[in-house]
Amino acid sequence: MSLRKRMLENLDQDIRDHIEMETQDNIERGMSPEEAHYAALRKFGNLTRVQEETRAVWSFIWIEELVADIRFGLRLLCKSPGFTTVAVLTLALGIGANTAVYSVVESVLLRPLPFQDSARLFAIWAAQSGRTYRIGASMPEFQDYKDQSHSFEYMANVLSGWTYTWTGQGEPRNVNCTGISYDFFPMLGVKPYLGRLYEPDEYHVDGVQVVISYRFWKEQLGSDPQVIGRVLKLDGTAQTVIGVMPSLPDLFPETDVWAKDVPDFRWMQVRGNKFLDLVGRLKPGVTREQAEQELSAILHRGPGESSDVSVHLVPLKDELTGDVRSQLLIVMAAVALVLLIACANVAYLLLARNTKRQSEIAVRVSLGAGKGRLLREFITENLILAILAGLAGLLLAIAAVRPLVRVSSLPRNASIGVDSGTLFFALFITVLTSLLVAWAPSTAFSRLNLISTLKTGRGEAGSIGRSHSGLLLISQVSLAVVLSVAAGLLLRSFRQAEHLDPGFRPDHLLTAYLRNDDQSAGRLFFPELVERASELPGVGAAALGKCMPGVFAPSATLVFSDRPNDPLNVPIGQACWISSEFFRAMGTPLVGGRFFTVHDDANTPAVVIVNQALAEAYWRGQNPIGKQIAVDYIGAGRNINDAPRFREVVGIVANVKQKGLDLPVEPAVYTPYLQDETDHAFAGLNLFVRTIGPPTSLAGTVRALVRSIRPDQTIDSMQTMNDALFRALARRRLSLVLVGSFAGLALLLSAIGIFGMVAYAVSQRTHEFGLRMALGAQPQDVLQLVVGDGFKIVATGVFVGIGLSSALAWFMRSLLYAVSPNDPLTFVVVAALLALVAFVACYIPAHRATRVDPMVALRE
């Protein structure tokens, strides 16, 4: 028999003997036997606790207690299934939403890139001081950096987002190309999945060999095991597949072909042609700042470079995730607020329930239950609650995360899912949740007044934590206000983006992208196409443009003949090659001068149309017609070194939101596509057809027309303009929908919280109301009393929430469009909404209070 067992076996007997001896002593001192017994008991102290503490000496006791606590907790939760369901569901929503959003944040923002020494990988670009416009690098600059810099282990250039036309395999198709230089994959530590990469000397010859992506191999070539050596006809030339790269979902996931950036092309040799993206891996120990300074110095040594431009390094991961960061962080903050509100709600439920349990607890304490023990039991119960909620939340997250990713068009989304990191996070917030939930009710515990509770048989009405429940409610309401304001601001931004005049009419417009790999043939094909398309029945106008209003526009540097052109501050504007009917097809009004005509071509004087923003920025108060601008398009494909020629301004048009409906209007120029001396405009153009009926009804006709003129012509992304704009706003819509639904959830939870608190207060005061009404109070008075009490707390919460929001809204100003972070309309509407919700939540239980029968209430 163990010492422990032997010692504990006779504990009861030992204690009984002890008390008997003490009683005996007392009797000898002259007490009556009964008196002597009670005196002995008093002197001994709390029997149960002595036994428990003695047992606790023999350690393992805590396991026994834990098991007992868990059993007790489960029994308690099963006994009130309504409470348990509401609490678990509330917390599960909070935990599930947080886990789902976290799994996205983890995969997109936190997970390191799966490349060698990825922490030292940087994207390299230049910018003029004080401007955000990013300037890429030209091939000569890249070569200067490579020759003269000592900061990098590797440096490579990338040219993404262009296409080859793939023929000879069914319908001609465009395949997405990403051009790379020799060092690119060795820098990342990525080896081919099959075959090999290009040899250094192969980079000097275009075509001949080709390396394809895993995706292309799998989806387009059916995972052909004999793919190495297979010949693909790309842009009319035969190219032999020499390698297949592994799946690289983090890096240009749309890529079909990893093509070569051939430095020998004439347009690659133009120093002013700054369109390459550079990526480098720093040597260990070299700081980002050192490398930036070194590269800036090299850049400034080059001919004709402004000293105002400096080079910047951005961690490659941040570069690849881009502007998603701020949106995800806002969503994460929103969802964290929802969890806090859920916690406040459940904490309140527990508080109310513990108030009801006061007499039970008081009895147990007087029978010798230690406070610590009770507290532990209470925490165990909460932990069970939280773990149940955590499991349910995890299931919710697993169910929610895939659909979330599908609609979100996030970068790096292939690996988003519930993994070990997510599980760890779920566990973490589950524990955090149980602590948050337990905090308020457990502090109420320690202020338990034994005697009065035992005497009255119940707690003094609401004495436990009336101040706590008030605080919980205030914080809940104020958090709901913060979330609603955030959602309101995003909603207003979205409405502004959708409804502010974009400068063109997106309805009844059919668009398609036509790539062209033969530029001299394009000179004949495009004019014929646009002329015949405008003659189709049901077509109002047809036009071509390099840009896509509301989605995309190229950029160009501008030179003015009538103003000093500061080389330190070269003006950059949006620019677009267009056909003569472009503005008529778009529905953009002419403000002054004239539109282009079909006669503005290679044989007539060079002309340009500007928008009102440009006229105001550079010729305020003057007539722009007749002024001269030289337009120098930025981008791949310019193949002359000469300065661009001056063009005469012939027209002014209304401002068009070129790059996005949610981006501000910038100065823009439009040039006739037939006047592109570099022929680059013909490498691909968007076709715009303004229809009289529904635009999609003409899709087949337009497709047939294109093919009838040129059977091999590829037709990409044929869609209505409205669809294109809808897609362009997808990410803004996603953050709106997410934050909006979290705000809705927060409102709902707060309403439940207010309702619960008022209903509980009413139930505690039934007796009082009965008395009041017996003494002559009208139902109206009781109603006023109850609603007034609830409303005071809600008003405080709204007030605090508005204050918090106006501080926090400043952080989301980068996500707002045409709305001030302190937008009065949003704040007023949110305050009114909360007040309305609160009123309803107070009124229902208050109304019930008025129907108390005084006789019944008094007799209780």
Binding site: D14, I15, D17, H18, G45, N46, W58
Partner: protein, 120 residues
């Protein structure tokens, strides 16, 4: 009677109670009730031990091997559990006593620095 006060009482005596028990047992095996009486009596009733708190302390000391329990008969011929010091307990008593002296001395010096200066 509030449980809170009781609790503080025990906390106050923790450790000290162990020492007092060891000291009491130095004179020979004693049963539980007699230990409580002895402590009360020897301290001129200044130390009012809540008698129940003796038992967790006794079990603690047994677990550490400083004392052991044996069955015996009390003065009025009743069966009772007698507690006795072990060799280890005896050594521990010396250590604990010197620790206590040091502590008491240190506290006294802090509380009455002036008297001390006068003495030296």
């Amino acid at each position: 009677m509030s449980t809170k006060e009781q609790r503080e009482h025990i906390d106050l005596l923790q450790g000290t109670l162990d020492l007092l028990i060891l000291r009491t047992l130095q004179l020979g095996p004693v049963h539980g009730h007699a230990i409580a009486k002895a402590i009360e009596f020897n301290s001129d009733e200044v130390l009012q031990v809540e008698q129940g708190s003796l038992y967790p302390a006794l079990h603690r000391l047994i677990k550490r091997g400083w004392i052991l329990a044996e069955e015996g008969t009390s003065e009025n011929n009743r069966r009772a559990k007698f507690y006795a010091l072990t060799a280890k307990g005896r050594r521990q008593l010396v250590i604990e006593t010197s620790k206590w002296d040091k502590l008491a001395g240190a506290i006294a010096r802090i509380l009455r620095p002036a008297e001390q200066e006068g003495e030296s």
